[in-house]
């Protein structure tokens, strides 16, 4: 019962803080519209890079443009959802350095919810929009015989993918308790992770694919379930049922990230400033 209360309390705090930031952004509506559009452009750059590459070749690592687009759309949309919810986690280090993190600790609301909603930026809808548009195009242009299992797997992938990325964000935030000035390490795993997943697994070295399958299981965001949908050989010769494990992987990742966050929070020592 206690856990349940903390969760509802956390969601409520999150909603209130996020609402405050949305209201402040909405004060200048035109500016908000422009930043959403700008966000769409900025996040679309990596897709332009893929289009540029395919203007020169017909396949990359043996994958066609619609197939790569499918991976891209899944990775970016899932990441976009996480980025909307937890995207401001990287200001945590700055808050610890300037001492304003201490004020979050004394407020009667779960710290993780406060940190997640800190500087909540609705403009990040730009990335989700861009990812969803690309995914939509991919879904109609890939050469796939759609079965009910495949159709159902797509939303499952998005939700579990967002949860896996969420775990990476929270674990990265927990790491900031150790290294207060190292927000960029977090970007290497979050932004780096989503960039990696935009390309087919066949492009990368075996060891790198092993690493992001068994150590940091990003491969379950789109590579593993995606190969099932596209009817491609599995990376690392995984069994076919592995395509349906992303929800389990997501739950395990979130549990581990939650533990890391608690350990990090317990080890926090104020700078005193």
């Amino acid at each position: 019962m206690g856990e349940h209360n903390r969760l509802t309390e956390g969601l409520r705090a999150y909603r209130l803080i996020a609402g405050m930031w949305i209201r402040s952004a909405m004060t200048y509506r035109v500016s908000f519209g422009v930043t959403v559009f700008g966000n769409l452009l900025v996040t679309g750059l990596d897709f332009v890079a893929i289009l540029l590459m395919f203007s020169q070749v017909d396949s990359l690592g043996g994958w066609t443009l619609p197939e790569v687009t499918f991976l891209y759309g899944l990775s970016v949309t899932a990441f976009g959802i996480t980025d909307l919810v937890f995207g401001s986690m990287d200001v945590l280090g700055a808050r610890m350095r300037d001492g304003s993190f201490d004020t979050l600790l004394v407020r009667p609301a779960p710290v993780l919810a406060q940190v997640g909603a800190d500087h909540f930026a609705l403009r990040r809808l730009g990335r989700i929009t861009q990812g969803a548009l690309v995914l939509g195009w991919a879904l109609v242009s890939v050469d796939v015989v759609w079965t009910p299992a495949k159709v159902l797997l797509v939303p499952v992938m998005l939700v579990s993918g967002a949860a896996i990325f969420g775990a990476v964000f929270v674990a990265g935030a927990a790491f900031q308790f150790l290294a207060q000035d190292a927000a960029e390490v977090q970007s290497a795993f979050t932004y780096g992770g989503t960039t990696l997943l935009q390309y087919p697994p066949t492009v990368f070295g075996k060891d790198l694919v092993r690493g992001v399958t068994f150590m940091l299981p990003l491969a379950f965001v789109n590579w593993v379930p995606g190969t099932y949908v596209l009817g491609r050989p599995y990376p690392l010769g995984l069994p076919q049922w592995a395509a349906f494990t992303p929800p389990l992987v997501a739950v395990a990742c979130c549990a581990l990230a939650g533990l890391a966050w608690r350990a990090g929070l317990r080890s926090y020592r104020s700078t005193g400033s």
Partner: protein
């Protein structure tokens, strides 16, 4: 001679300021190495399909990737150099203090940015580049003169990069909010500098356009000089023309902007 000492001191200040953040620098090194790894594999796959794309072989494409990661922070390709400070000073009005200093505003900020760029090259660029050279076959020159020629091209690239960002920062005198300008800097910088794909691999007319824009002076020119793909003198001429045009435009805009400054009393 006194003023040369002054600007050297300003540059040293810029260097030291960024050197203070050691953990952040180490984190940046790690991030650039990770992104370099991802890009290298995609480039290798691309050059596997299309050998000699853009006139590069695979080792040259790999070299280009790691040079990009090395110069990413140096040239503030996404923005994030001294123009951030300058924008903040314009917004808050602290720029008025800079204006009555007995020093040239543009040279002051250029010196500071060169100091920053030098630190970013040494602190943040060298290690990812060395990592790349250690684990991937790269097309590096064996003779010292090519490396010297590359360093000259790099210095000119730093000046061109500053020229672009200085113009962007001065726009704050009219706009008062840098969000849009910063986003434009980011999009143009990443795309037109060739961070996504070498500019000589861009297709058709698009390629012709991006290769004459000032951003081509930043990563493409130093890379081509390093790998012996272009004659240094031609590259220098291209970079120098853009440097002069941008700095001159900066001067014009600066004098127009400073006429607008109203110092509030109180």
């Amino acid at each position: 001679m006194g003023s040369a000492r002054l600007y050297a001191a300003v540059a040293a200040g810029g260097f030291r300021r960024y050197a203070t953040y050691r953990v952040a620098t180490a984190a940046g090194v790690f991030t650039n190495t990770v992104f370099g790894l991802i890009l290298v594999y995609t480039y290798l796959a691309l050059w596997d399909e299309r050998p000699h794309l853009g006139g590069y072989d695979q080792t040259q494409a790999v070299t280009y990737v790691w040079l990009g990661q090395c110069l990413y922070a140096t040239l503030a390709i996404q923005g994030g150099g001294v123009e951030k400070d300058l924008m903040a000073r314009i917004r808050t009005g602290e720029i008025a203090i800079d204006l009555y200093r007995p020093a040239d505003l543009q040279l002051w900020w250029l010196a500071s940015d060169l100091g920053r760029a030098l630190f970013q090259t040494l602190g943040r660029g060298v290690i990812p580049f060395a990592f790349g050279a250690l684990f991937f076959p790269m097309a590096l020159p064996a003779d010292v003169s090519t490396w010297v020629a590359f360093l000259v091209a790099l210095l000119l690239a730093m000046v061109v990069s500053f020229g672009i960002r200085y113009l962007a920062a001065l726009s704050m005198f009219w706009l008062m909010d840098g969000t849009g300008v910063n986003q434009a800097l980011m999009v143009l910088g990443v795309f037109c500098s060739g961070m996504t794909l070498p500019l000589n691999a861009f297709p058709g007319a698009l390629g012709d356009v991006v290769r004459v824009l000032p951003w081509a002076a930043q990563l493409q020119m130093p890379a081509d000089v390093l790998m012996g793909e272009t004659a240094p003198l031609g590259a220098y001429a291209f970079q120098a023309v853009w440097a002069v045009v941008l700095l001159w435009a900066g001067r014009l805009l600066q004098s127009a902007a400073t006429r607008r400054v109203v110092v509030q009393g109180g």
